[in-house]
């Protein structure tokens, strides 16, 4: 008896042994590179120069962050960006009002207030007289990324939800359609962008041909500053609605039929049933999809890189593409890492939100 118990591992030991392969890979390929990225961001680090001479790097502290995010004579004022700051003030008032009136939970009120304060503070910075941003592309690029996320996330969520609701029936045709709509998701970004470049082409493209038939003049989607961002958002929605649709379908199948029957007795059918029964029951799935999409789309790269090359005039330049250009084209690994750390903080914030929301009791 004593012999067997000695040769057996305790539960903790077993757990560590079973976890070891994962922890090792995780540490080696995620934790270590992450801290190395932080380390690089504190250096003037030329990609090629350091490869040929490891001493070619120089410790510069936080200068990369300053050079990327700050400028000369930067000032803050409440009227620098009236629209955004006004929106922030309104949000703040709304959060306070609704919370006091008891119409909003404390968590939601705090979340709205934090978002509003950020809206008031961040757009308020601007270069004063004789001042300038050191890197004039960084903040516009962050802005473009936010616009992309702001368009793509609702776009994907709403389209996927509508499709899921329409296809949530147990017939063979619906099964086939579900597969069809999911298919685009398995394509790689190169294929997706190729398809859509052809679709958007003002000469051979399907869209141009349709507008031609309708008597309009074709739009140069990818080179018109008003349409370029819309074009990559459309391609993105088409590409990434599959997973969201599957998540919604899973959520829909969890809703008990009894509720619909009860609702039908109260004369709630069709759109009404969707609004009063389906949506409230899908709340958690919607939150999950939205947060996952936000984290995913902040990392957008391929669509902008392959379809518009960030153009025209940087209107579709996004953060990851700028990091890539700075790191590889310009060889400035230190600056690129500083931007990557910034991106990490944004996505980290949304991951924390997802974590908190996920733990909230329904």
């Amino acid at each position: 008896m004593a012999v067997t118990s000695r040769s057996r591992l305790s539960q903790t030991q077993a757990a560590w042994i079973l976890l070891a392969p994962f922890l090792l890979t995780y540490g080696l390929f995620l934790v270590y590179p992450f801290f190395q990225g932080l380390w690089i961001s504190l250096h003037d680090w030329n990609l090629l120069a350091v490869a040929f001479n490891p001493d070619a790097k120089e410790y510069v502290g936080l200068r990369n962050y300053e050079r990327v995010m700050w400028g000369r004579n930067i000032e803050w004022s409440l009227l620098a960006a009236p629209f955004w700051q006004g929106l922030g003030l309104a949000g703040l008032a709304l959060a306070a009002g609704l919370h006091w009136a008891g119409r909003m939970s404390r968590f939601n009120a705090v979340a709205l207030a934090v978002a509003s304060v950020l809206l008031i503070v961040i757009p308020g910075f601007h270069p004063g007289e004789e001042g300038r941003w050191y890197d004039r592309r960084f903040w516009p690029t962050v802005g473009n990324t936010l616009v992309f996320v702001g368009l793509a996330v609702p776009g994907v969520t709403i389209t996927a939800l509508a499709l899921a609701a329409a296809l949530n029936r147990e017939t063979r045709a619906m099964g086939a359609l579900r597969t069809l709509f999911f298919l685009s998701q398995v394509l790689s970004v190169t294929v997706v962008t190729l398809i859509w470049q052809i679709m958007f082409s003002p000469r051979q493209g399907l869209i141009a041909n349709v507008t031609d038939v309708l008597g309009g003049s074709p739009i140069n989607w990818l080179t018109d500053p008003q349409f370029a961002m819309a074009a990559i958002v459309i391609a993105t929605i088409w590409w990434s609605l599959g997973i969201a649709m599957i998540l919604f379908l899973a959520g829909l199948q969890d809703i008990s039929k009894d509720i619909y029957e009860a609702a039908a007795l109260d004369n709630a059918r069709g759109i009404k049933a969707f609004w009063y029964v389906t949506l409230p029951n899908l709340k958690r799935t919607v939150t999950l999809v939205v947060v996952l999409q936000i984290i995913l789309h902040f990392q957008v790269f391929g669509q902008s890189h392959l379809m518009t090359q960030g153009g025209p005039n940087d209107t579709t330049q996004v953060l990851v593409r700028y990091i890539y250009q700075t790191g590889f084209r310009d060889s400035e690994l230190g600056r690129a890492s500083a931007m990557a750390v910034f991106l990490f903080l944004i996505m980290g914030a949304f991951s924390v939100i997802q974590f908190i929301v996920g733990r909230e009791k329904s």
Partner: protein
């Protein structure tokens, strides 16, 4: 059974040691060509001509096998850089002359002046400018393959309809005012656009503006690193082009593929593009179903004082880390490519070897005589390790002018500040 396997294994090892095939990895752009074959005299287009030369080298060079790496354009230099940084650069790779300051400056490229003769390359046969193109700080860092430059590709039928052809040659403008007049003449006579180019993505528009600045003996920065973009010369160059857009005689929104399509469809009289498409357009013009019928490749016209057109050079380099047999094998591949300079010139590019330029075969290449003046007016910006980023700044600011309506003054002063930042870094 065991015995058989053992013998087979032994035989395989002896074979391998008897003829050690030296493997050479090769990095290039120009795009993919699946069935290039090994006949270097029959292929058309950059991708297929270069691949047929590589395939022929693979077949004809004893004991050398060549593996061509992926041939994508857009991210080529990023990939090469990452490969160098990771310590696994290709044994042989193509690059542009304008990248030499960056790569050779860091010690990435092998200095090969002492090895050229041993593999049968005669640098004395290279033209002076070709030797200068591959030289850096007194060393030779590559084997030049061509000069390429912007041309005016002309649809002669449209110009003839507008009365702009004389003695079988196009009448091209000699001032910005004349450019405008010709464009209006074409519009009135045919309803078609005068000029197309990729003004929206690939930096052909930048190269156009640069050429027009050089024609006024100006440049975007000086040799000592001072940006000079917010100048009268730049304004003249930009407005020479924007006047066409403003009058609806050219479309700034076409990208590379669309502008080329517009030219091939016969929708525009002139296409500004490089020498690399001369053989392709010649082949297209011969087809019944293509709108372009009478094709002419003209020198970039002089709209100001001095003739100038944007030009660059393709060259082949090897990494400085390559040694011994690997280095020898790589040099033999360079020599093979150098020997096939006439085949590469079929693309439309200008050859770098004097013996080739003076040969009858070269002079007889289609349209060659029409742009014989280009070699003399070829120009580029002063060398800089930040060439790529500087081109990108200009591309963005010029696009802002003609695509988003930013004022010329704002765009030029913004471009000057950003280029100065890059030069100071």
């Amino acid at each position: 059974m065991k015995h058989v396997l053992l013998t087979a294994a032994l035989a395989a090892t002896t074979l391998a040691t008897a003829a050690p095939a030296q493997e050479v990895t090769l990095g290039r752009f120009f795009g993919a060509c699946e069935d290039a074959g090994t006949d270097t005299t029959a292929s058309t287009g950059e991708a297929c001509i270069i691949q047929s030369i590589i395939n022929a080298a693979d077949a004809e060079l004893d004991g050398i096998t060549i593996t061509t790496l992926p041939t994508d354009w857009g991210n080529y230099y990023d990939q090469i850089k990452a490969a160098y940084a990771g310590g696994t650069p290709p044994d042989v790779h193509v690059m542009h002359r304008h990248r030499i300051p960056e790569f050779a400056g860091l010690g990435a490229l092998g200095e090969i002046s002492g090895d050229l003769e041993s593999v049968g390359i005669d640098p004395g046969d290279w033209s002076e400018t070709a030797l200068a193109a591959v030289s850096y700080n007194g060393g030779v860092y590559g084997v030049p393959m061509d000069f390429h430059a912007n041309l005016w590709h002309v649809n002669m039928d449209i110009l003839a309809e507008a009365g702009l052809v004389q003695d079988g040659k196009p009448i091209l403008p000699s001032s910005p005012q004349e450019l405008m007049a010709h464009a209006q003449q074409v519009k009135d006579a045919t309803g078609k656009d005068y000029l197309a180019a990729d003004f929206a993505q690939f930096p052909i528009g930048v190269r156009l503006v640069l050429a027009l600045m050089w024609q006024q003996n100006a440049n975007i920065f000086t040799d000592d690193g001072t940006a000079t973009i917010d100048t009268e010369a730049a304004r003249n160059a930009v407005t020479a082009i924007t006047q066409l857009f403003d009058a609806g005689l050219a479309d700034p929104q076409l990208n590379y593929a669309d502008s080329q399509q517009a030219f091939l469809n016969g929708e525009t009289a002139i296409l500004v593009n490089g020498t690399w498409v001369v053989d392709f357009y010649t082949a297209e013009a011969a087809k019944e179903e293509v709108g372009l019928d009478t094709y002419y490749a003209a020198d970039f016209p002089t709209l100001f004082d001095t003739g100038a057109t944007w030009a660059d050079s393709h060259m082949w380099a090897i990494p400085s880390t390559l040694e011994g047999e690997d280095r020898m094998a790589a040099l033999k591949v360079l020599a093979f490519i150098n020997d096939h300079n006439i085949d590469w010139a079929r693309t439309g590019h200008m050859a770098v070897r004097t013996s080739v330029v003076e040969s009858d075969a070269y002079k007889a290449l289609p349209h060659r005589a029409e742009y014989a003046g280009t070699a003399a007016i070829a120009k580029d910006t002063p060398p800089s390790a930040r060439y790529g980023a500087i081109q990108d700044v200009l591309n963005r600011e010029l696009q802002a002018i003609w695509l988003t309506g930013k004022s010329v003054d704002d765009a030029l002063s913004d471009a000057e500040i950003e280029v100065q930042d890059l030069l100071d870094r």
